[in-house]
């Protein structure tokens, strides 16, 4: 038996599966609930409402500057919980592996998941592994689901945005999306392009506790980017959003790569950023809180909700003109010239 490749046997539920569980999953993801190896995890009675979410991760390449598919799977689901104001409790982890995947790659991913769980304080409490025949998958697909607790009095929703509210973006745009696209294209750039994947629940909890009632809406602008998330907020709240072109934080190397590929940072995926819609009188306070955290040190006020045409997002350009910002249609494709 070749020990360094994933075999169909590893998903069979038999001896090879057991080996995988003890030599990888329990070794790197260990906690009392997971260790019990029961058919489901029991989470003791919690106070508050439950938030529940799920997401699947199929990113190619599976390793990229700033992270890997495993970290992404932990952070992404934590962030989805955090965007409703929930305190993440635990995650499940389901892997679909392609026969022939390098065992060393899987180990690296599981180590990375373990690190992400420890750093964020959110354990994996349930899991599953399946193996599909070579050619029927692409190395590894991951699904994580997550449960969180929403404390009494917390109500974060895009429906809660009000006219006059301020939109804060917690950091620079497009870092994750452009890193993946340039990796796929084999383009190397001067300067460092790196995914921004990180968990935001600590930042969110600080905002919710230090300015109670001040945060109305939170969104993580993943696929579709800031442009698409703002369109969703505008549509759900029945308000318009006006942005200032020059307020949008973009790293110079990201901007350079976008110029080369003909892409707009507004439409690129982020994996460690949130948009916060905040009461105007508390906006500076929220910004200061963000600036005091590692996740939000480059946060900026990028726009404002207005009572304009419902669902419309407009950006003011440096020449005093304006343009409408629509949601993303399809995958962003690089242009010819």
């Amino acid at each position: 038996m070749s020990e360094n490749k994933i075999l169909l046997d590893h998903g069979s539920g038999g001896l090879a599966s057991q080996e995988l569980i003890s030599s990888l999953f329990l070794k790197y993801l260990d906690n009392p609930i997971l260790r019990s190896l029961e058919d489901s995890a029991i989470i003791e009675n919690q106070q508050g409402r439950l938030a529940f979410t799920t997401d699947s991760y199929v990113v190619d390449p599976i390793f990229f500057p700033g992270g890997d598919i495993g970290k992404l799977a932990v952070h992404g689901t934590i962030n989805d919980l955090a965007m409703r104001g929930a305190r993440p409790l635990c995650l499940s982890l389901a892997l679909i592996l392609e026969e022939g995947m390098d065992m060393a790659d899987l180990e690296k991913i599981i180590i990375s998941i373990g690190e992400a769980c420890r750093a964020s304080g959110v354990p994996i409490v349930a899991g599953d592994t399946k193996v599909v025949p070579k050619g029927k998958g692409d190395k590894i697909f991951i699904n994580t689901s997550g449960i969180g607790i929403v404390s009494d009095g917390i109500d974060i929703s895009s429906k809660n945005a009000r006219a006059g509210d301020v939109v804060i973006l917690s950091g620079t745009m497009g870092d994750h999306g452009i890193t993946i696209m340039t990796r796929r294209a084999g383009i190397s750039m001067q300067g460092r392009l790196e995914s921004d994947t990180m968990p935001l629940h600590t930042l969110v909890q600080r905002l919710l506790t230090e300015i109670p009632g001040g945060i109305h809406t939170l969104r993580d602008p993943t696929r579709g980017g800031v442009a698409t998330s703002l369109n969703e907020i505008a549509a759900n709240s029945g308000l318009a959003i006006t942005m200032d072109d020059q307020a949008l934080p973009v790293r110079p190397e990201v901007r350079a790569a976008c110029e080369i590929l003909g892409l707009e940072p507004l439409y690129l995926a982020n994996e460690g950023k949130c948009l916060a819609v905040v009461s105007p009188e508390l906006a500076q306070r929220a910004l200061a809180i963000m600036h005091s955290t590692p996740e939000g040190r480059e946060a900026a006020i990028i726009g404002r909700l207005t009572a304009g045409k419902p669902g419309r997002v407009v950006i003011n350009t440096p020449v005093g003109g304006s343009r409408v910002v629509t949601p993303l249609h399809g995958e962003p494709l690089p242009r010819i010239c």
């Binding site: 003011n316 020449v319 005093g320 690089p334 010819i336 010239c337």
Partner: protein
């Protein structure tokens, strides 16, 4: 960022906006030829601050948009052939032919790879010796030298499974075809930046001489565009017609002679079919017989199928500047970026895509 921030500086741009208002002394119609200009004008919000009487018409300068339906059908049929791997720039992926797109072909198993440069397609050929790689050459002078260089590299490296299907187009001929149409009334041309870096600003002098048009070569940043729109308005106001160049950091009068020589080594002028404009003599480039081994048309014996263009689609008139997207019955109803019917909607450079993305009220 150097060469970008200076040209986007609002402190420099705002006075130009005031200047533009003053420069317009009579109504004028200017065609921006290049799709990248169309997008840049929208992105900067320049349409929202154009002075009264200043009309911008979008011309035929988006390479994807002017690719004929019969060429798209040929591309798709070729991608469906076993043993063929098609390499394309991303814009082409969703362009509809008579029946479906390369995206549809890909979903039924055709090998379609999106590349960022023709050199990437050559690498694909090396990595996939079992396949015949066909790079779909869809573009103007901007992309032709890179394709010529890739064919030369393939020859030098003795890569025998790399070919190009050339529908490469050249810039002045379609403008002449348009200007000879009495239905088109324009006073000036905002001339393309990238194309002009190859063909030179001097390429527009014949248009000035024959049609008495104001011509200004422009870059793509805020101040480039404002400055060029001002110069066009001034020329028209004074009744002048000359070539001016505001993109001197990239464009000279003669063009890139080295690139031109390389293109001439590989390609020869050919008649070419344009979407909406029909066949224009000498408006395309075919691979010379000396390089037939790299010519997909020869290697695969391709003949162009007859194609019908989508019913109701006004891309043809829009490309001629005789209609605007909002006048098309399909615009934003059946034809959207998610479900494009005409090529002007699918390309990010397309006039309809620009109107959809930035132009709504």
């Amino acid at each position: 960022m150097k060469y970008l921030d200076e040209f986007r500086d609002s402190a420099l741009a705002r006075p130009l906006v005031a200047e533009l208002q003053k420069a317009v002394t009579r109504p004028l119609r200017v065609m921006e030829i290049c799709g990248s200009h169309t997008m840049a004008i929208f992105r900067n919000g320049l349409r929202s601050i154009l002075p009264e009487g200043y009309t911008l018409i979008s011309g035929p300068g988006c390479p994807v948009c002017v690719t004929s339906a019969s060429h798209m059908d040929a591309f798709i049929a070729m991608a469906d052939r076993p043993g063929v791997r098609v390499a394309i720039f991303g814009d082409l992926f969703r362009v509809p032919g008579t029946d479906g797109s390369l995206a549809n072909a890909s979903s039924r198993g055709a090998k379609v790879d999106i590349v960022y440069s023709p050199m990437d397609a050559l690498d694909l050929a090396v990595r996939h010796p079992e396949d015949l790689i066909v790079f779909l050459g869809v573009g103007f002078e901007t992309t032709t030298p890179g394709i010529a260089a890739t064919i030369l590299a393939a020859k030098n490296r003795n890569v025998t499974n790399f070919t190009v299907f050339s529908t490469q187009k050249v810039m002045p001929p379609p403008l002449i075809a348009l200007l000879d149409d009495p239905g088109l009334k324009i006073d000036g041309l905002l001339c393309p930046g990238h194309v002009s870096s190859i063909i030179g600003a001097g390429a527009y002098q014949p248009l000035v001489d024959k049609y008495h048009l104001a011509c200004v070569v422009a870059g793509f940043e805020t101040t480039d565009l404002l400055n060029s729109l001002i110069l066009l308005a001034r020329q028209v106001g004074r009744g002048e017609a000359k070539v001016e160049n505001t993109y001197k950091r990239a464009v000279n009068w003669e063009g890139n002679l080295r690139a031109a020589r390389m293109v001439d080594e590989i390609f020869e002028p050919a008649d070419m079919e344009w979407r909406g404009l029909g066949v224009i003599p000498g408006s395309g480039l075919a691979i010379r017989s000396g390089y037939a081994d790299f010519d997909a048309v020869v290697r695969l014996g391709i003949t162009l199928p007859a194609a019908r263009e989508a019913k109701g689609c006004r891309c043809g008139e829009i490309l001629k500047g005789m209609s605007i997207p909002t006048e098309c019955p399909l615009f934003n109803t059946r034809c959207t970026p998610g479900t494009p019917i005409g090529p002007c909607m699918v390309s990010s450079e397309g006039t309809c895509a620009a109107y959809h993305k930035y132009g709504r009220d």
